[in-house]
């Protein structure tokens, strides 16, 4: 909210500079968002008299002038058509060398077609002024000021652009501060200066309002107070300059005296006001009622709006004349012929205005204020203040009495005042008297024994002791509270849980394998399922839907992380990154399989009866280029298993996962439980995502890894006896996997087996087609003796025999 400092000063003396004032506001919770010094953008521009105008020797459209701004004279070349020989003696704004203009232009000495020019004569436009306000200034030329204007006056002074305007960020709990009076009240408390709220003083020389209009409120819940005054003999015209300049400085255009008064009072008190032309109100009857469902009105902006039954309207005997708190209707609008005005000052229910304004899609200054909540006392003050201004500026006759429909006034809240507890929570030693002074300065009161604080009506946000504590703390300044570090309190050990440690281990391991971490959105488009080649009935398509997504592309919670990974690989591939290795640790979200349909969303205990969707953490790995292949990612997975001390895992071919290559994909099982999938991406999916054709991906279920992990280890002693290594080469059918051979070797090698390593696979001319040669080194060792050839030979014989029998291996 923008407020000129001069306006605040009408109600409280401010004897510190603006910077200090802003700091005080900011550190007490009324944050200053910006400060604008009026005229800040106009520098070194003065009123000056034209002494001489001569033609330019080389340019028909230019003229050479001699101008004085007080002492001496300067030569300025101008192209303005309204500067002629006849302009001699006229007073104009002169930007001297060194001047700065609102559009950022800086004036320096220069030559125009060979003639020296030491400044510029300015137009209204060049000074960034509203041409409407200076109707006598020339449209396309230099601004000719009145003849009696003294010369040598700084244009900022001439234009009275000397105010400072502060832009406040008012927190939603302080609607009372959305007003000049509210902010002035804060200043008064913080600067310890008296607060001068204008006192109401009315002549009221007309007939009683009750003879002119009646008001009936049909729904006090939605309209707790409705007050009105009537002004007769209205003379519509411009408001006085002081009022216009205050409105303008606050960012509101002056319209006419009546509209300006309603806006002025709204800014001053925070209470939105509305003026109706009473002659246009059928039967002089105001009814505050709920709108009929589907009721149509034409609002002041000439648009037809359809209302619903949760909204409130102000109606006359026939039809709605305003959407309560949001916008008036054209049928009761004040115009230049208006002679009798009804001023409305009312309170409308916050939620009602909020929903209504959303329903018809208009937010106004007024609706914004009602949404934040207004207090029932200011309603009357604002109404009377408007009437007082009417009398003050002679805009009409204020009728006697006011209409005031209110069912019950709120009681002032009382809160226990316990200085010791306040200091205890803050960690301070603020004396009780100081606390009392602070609260009194904010217009709180006390009962006789100072054991209870009485909250002023306008402070609807203050409800409990903690609110009182904040009042004291913010006046005291949070930054004056002595920092402490929980000495002796909340002594806990802390640290990561086992699961958190394991997750960090996984992350560090994958990083060390050369894969970089990515972050992607949790929601995806349902189209991703098509791109992933999933059949229509695939369970992954059953995803949690967002009711109000940012478009279809972000409309479901992902059930697979592969889509995001492939998108990332694709982005990099299409940006010509040659080789890319990525991973992500993030959740997928699976709808709860519990049938919760029968629990009503209105049920208070909904959160206890319904199961949330399940989130499952995934490690997703993806790569292409630079030799990245199935075996590399398999290696990464195994490195993770090794780090997590997962020893028992096996691979099964996967031929029917529609996203993966049917011949180059495996499922990983840990102790019989599916732990993940690795494979080359299916060529169709590669096409869909426009990835590199050798794109590989894997996902692992992090929870399965955690379940089978261990952080315990014992160092094994180093072997004391030498190992014996035997190589073995065999020819087998192509379809026989290394895994099968491994298993047989491990099974048959006996106690002395230590490890085996595949070192060669060969397919080619020298072999029968459909077969391959495969070679291993097998290492034997005993912990307590040097092995003899005989022992090893025996094991090897067993291995040979089993390989022959079970796989038909032909040993070479």
């Amino acid at each position: 909210m923008k407020i000129p400092v001069s306006w605040i000063k009408d109600y409280v003396d401010i004897n510190i500079d603006t910077d200090k004032l802003c700091d005080i506001f900011t550190l007490s919770g009324t944050k200053v968002d910006g400060v604008e010094k009026q005229g800040d953008k106009i520098k070194n521009v003065f009123t000056g008299r034209i002494l001489e105008v001569t033609p330019h020797p080389d340019a028909d459209k230019l003229r050479v002038t001699k101008v004085t701004t007080g002492d001496g004279e300067v030569q300025i070349v101008t192209g303005a058509p309204n500067i002629t020989e006849e302009s001699v003696g006229k007073i104009v704004p002169v930007a001297l060398v060194g001047a700065e203009l609102p559009d950022g232009k800086k004036i320096s000495k220069g030559k125009l077609r060979g003639v020296e020019s030491c400044g510029m004569l300015c137009s209204v436009d060049e000074l960034d002024l509203d041409p409407d306000e200076y109707p006598n200034a020339s449209d396309h030329g230099i601004w000719i000021l009145p003849d009696e204007t003294p010369i040598g006056i700084d244009m900022r002074d001439y234009l009275k652009l000397t105010d400072t305007i502060i832009d406040f960020e008012i927190t939603p709990n302080r609607p009372d501060c959305l007003s000049v009076l509210g902010v002035a009240r804060e200043a008064s408390a913080l600067l310890a200066q008296p607060f001068r709220k204008p006192t109401i003083n009315l002549k009221e020389d007309g007939v009683s309002v009750n003879e002119l209009v009646s008001v009936e409120v049909l729904d006090y819940e939605l309209c707790p107070r409705y007050a009105a005054r009537v002004v007769t003999d209205v003379k519509i015209g411009p408001s006085p300059a002081w009022m216009q300049s205050k409105l303008k400085a606050s960012g509101i255009r002056a319209i006419n005296n009546i509209v300006d008064i309603t806006n002025f009072v709204m800014l001053e008190t925070g209470q939105p006001m509305h003026g109706f032309d009473l002659d246009k109100i059928a039967d002089s009857k105001i009814i505050v009622r709920r709108a009929a469902s589907g009721e149509k009105v034409v609002t002041l902006d000439d648009k037809e709006r359809t209302l619903n039954n949760d909204m409130l309207v102000i109606s006359d005997a026939n039809s709605a004349i305003a959407v309560a708190g949001i916008m008036g209707c054209g049928n009761s609008e004040v115009d230049s012929d208006t002679t009798t005005i009804l001023f409305e000052s009312a309170i409308f229910n916050r939620a009602c205005v909020r929903r209504g304004s959303k329903h018809i899609g208009i937010r106004t200054e007024s609706s914004g204020r009602f949404e934040k909540g207004l207090d029932l006392e200011t309603t009357i003050y604002a109404l009377d203040r408007a009437a007082m201004l009417v009398e003050m500026i002679g805009a009409g006759r204020v009728c006697k009495d006011r209409i005031d429909c209110v069912q019950r006034m709120p009681e002032k809240k009382r809160i226990t005042f316990n200085p010791q507890r306040i200091n205890q929570l803050l960690g301070t030693n603020i004396p009780t008297e100081q606390m009392v002074d602070i609260l009194v300065s904010f217009e709180f009161e006390f009962n006789e024994t100072v054991s209870e604080v009485i909250v002023p009506i306008f402070r609807q946000d203050v409800e409990i002791e903690a609110d009182i504590i904040e009042e004291i703390a913010r006046h005291f300044d949070y930054n004056n509270i002595k920092p402490t570090l929980l000495e002796g309190k909340a002594t806990t050990v802390g640290g990561r849980s086992y699961e958190q440690k394991i997750r960090k281990n996984i992350l560090d391991t994958v990083l060390s394998c050369g894969y970089s971490e990515i972050y992607t959105y949790s929601f995806i488009s349902p189209k991703e399922f098509d791109k992933l080649n999933l059949p229509q009935d695939d369970t992954l398509r059953n995803a949690v839907q967002i009711k109000n997504p940012l478009g279809e592309d972000f409309s479901i919670m992902r059930t697979t992380t592969l889509a995001s990974m492939l998108e990332c690989l694709s982005i990099n591939y299409n940006r010509r990154a040659e080789d890319v290795r990525l991973f992500e640790m993030a959740n997928v979200y699976i709808p709860s399989d519990q049938d919760d349909e029968q629990v009503s969303e209105n049920d208070e205990g909904y959160h206890k009866k319904v199961t949330l969707p399940v989130q499952i953490p995934m490690l997703t790995i993806g790569a292409y280029g630079d030799g990245a292949d199935y075996y590399e990612i398999k290696g990464v997975c195994e490195e993770v298993f090794d780090k997590l001390k997962i020893k028992k895992f096996n691979y099964e071919p996967v031929t029917d996962n529609p996203t993966f290559h049917p011949g180059k994909t495996a499922a990983i099982y840990i102790k019989g439980e599916l732990a993940g999938i690795i494979g080359e991406i299916h060529p169709l999916v590669v096409q869909n995502y426009e990835c590199g054709k050798d794109t590989i991906a894997a996902y692992l279920l992090i929870d399965v890894l955690i379940k089978n992990s261990s952080d315990k280890m014992k160092v094994k002693p180093l072997p004391k006896f030498p190992a014996v290594t035997r190589d073995i080469a065999m020819v087998v059918d192509d379809g026989i996997s290394a895994g099968k051979i491994d298993a047989i070797v491990k099974n048959k090698a006996g106690q002395i087996f230590e490890s085996l390593k595949l070192f060669d696979v060969y397919k080619g001319e020298q072999l029968k087609s459909g077969t391959k040669s495969i070679a291993y080194s097998i290492i034997f060792r005993s912990p307590d003796r040097t092995l003899t050839d005989d022992e090893v030979n025996k094991s090897m014989d067993n291995i040979y025999k089993a390989l022959k029998e079970k796989l038909g291996a032909e040993l070479r």
């Binding site: 939620a351 909340a490 802390g494 972050y519 992607t520 979200y589």
Partner: protein, 341 residues
């Protein structure tokens, strides 16, 4: 006689090895000349048998001395030649030290993880645990239990993603605090890092998915001074020893008193620059004393216990630390961006 000859051999040999033996081959010739089967010393010793019994041990001793003297000299020289031969060889064994290194690249940790871990470590060292909770959350935990009434502007459909009227994508990590408070007896000392959602269209400073980290402490006698002290320490550890903080009163539904916390600008140190919009301060945290209503909703007696909570955005912190000017880069994962970290 024989003694003189031995002495003479010693001198002669010493002289020769010093002045004439220049390489390994000459050294070998030298060895053969003196110690070989037909060498001078060997020849000389054959004459030993003609000596008297008294002379023999004396001459024998001398002969051995001379032999070992020669052997030492030969060994010394041999080592010398070996060394210089190696040095010659090394002189020609040269690599281009500026050719590219061959290390297998490590992967890069995402800046959001780096910042999260850094913050986690600070708090773990102060005895905090890490708490986690669901991202798809009941509105009860995301709003109601956090003292955010039904018609609060934060609950507007435009800010929150809804799954249904009662289930939302959490807009803050605060619901985790509620879940912990419901199930744990104080003392409670946790941080809650995690992914949160707001319905903002992505631009340079917003993404609909982002990350927060919040801290919560509840115990008897926890004060606002404790909150401020903790914030100060945290700011210094994350943004540097010279960092100052400034608290401004603010409003959050779940804390009272509440504050927004600024840290002194990490670029200019507080004098004002483009990054801090000339203010010298950068707003980074929301904080406050846990609202008594929130404690009570979780079954914690607010007369007996008090607590503080604060939270900050990971993205914002990362942007500050790494001078990132567009948030969207963090979610685009261009390898040229990722590999800079």
């Amino acid at each position: 006689m024989l003694k003189d000859q031995l002495e003479q051999i010693r001198e002669q040999a010493q002289d020769q090895i010093k002045n004439e033996v220049k390489n390994a081959q000459q050294l070998d010739e030298f060895r053969v000349k003196y110690l070989g089967k037909k060498g001078e010393l060997t020849a000389l010793l054959r004459g030993m048998s003609e000596l008297s019994a008294e002379e023999r041990p004396i001459i024998g001793q001398l002969a051995n001395d001379v032999r070992s003297f020669l052997e030492n000299k030969i060994q010394e020289a041999a080592q010398e030649f070996e060394k210089s031969a190696m040095a010659d060889e090394l002189k020609n064994d040269v690599i281009d030290i500026t050719m590219p290194g061959k290390i297998k690249k490590l992967g890069k940790k995402h800046p959001l993880t780096s910042v999260t871990e850094e913050i986690e470590e600070v708090f773990i060292s102060m005895g905090y645990e890490i708490a986690e909770g669901p991202e798809i959350e009941f509105d009860y935990y995301n709003f109601k239990a956090l003292n955010t009434p039904e018609d609060h502007p934060a609950r507007d459909l435009q800010d929150t993603f809804y799954i249904n009227d009662r289930i939302v994508l959490r807009t803050q990590t605060s619901p985790v605090q509620i879940r912990v408070m419901e199930n744990t007896k104080p003392p409670i000392k946790i941080i809650c890092p995690g992914r949160v959602y707001r319905s903002d269209i992505a631009d340079a400073t917003h993404t609909p998915v982002f990350h927060q980290i919040e801290a919560l402490v509840v115990d008897k006698g926890v004060t606002m001074g404790d909150l401020i002290g903790t914030l100060k320490l945290f700011a210094k550890k994350i943004f540097g020893e010279n960092t100052n903080i400034r608290l401004r009163p603010h409003h959050f539904p779940f804390t009272e008193p509440s504050a927004e916390v600024d840290v002194s600008c990490w670029v200019c140190g507080g004098v004002g620059c483009r990054v801090c919009k000339q203010e010298g301060w950068i707003e980074i945290l929301g904080a406050g004393m846990v609202h008594p209503n929130v404690l009570e909703m979780c079954g914690i007696d607010s007369k007996e216990y008090s607590g503080f909570a604060f939270g900050l955005g990971i993205e914002r912190t990362a942007m500050g630390k790494y001078n990132i000017d567009d948030l969207r880069l963090l979610y685009e994962n261009d390898i040229r961006f990722v590999s800079q970290f």
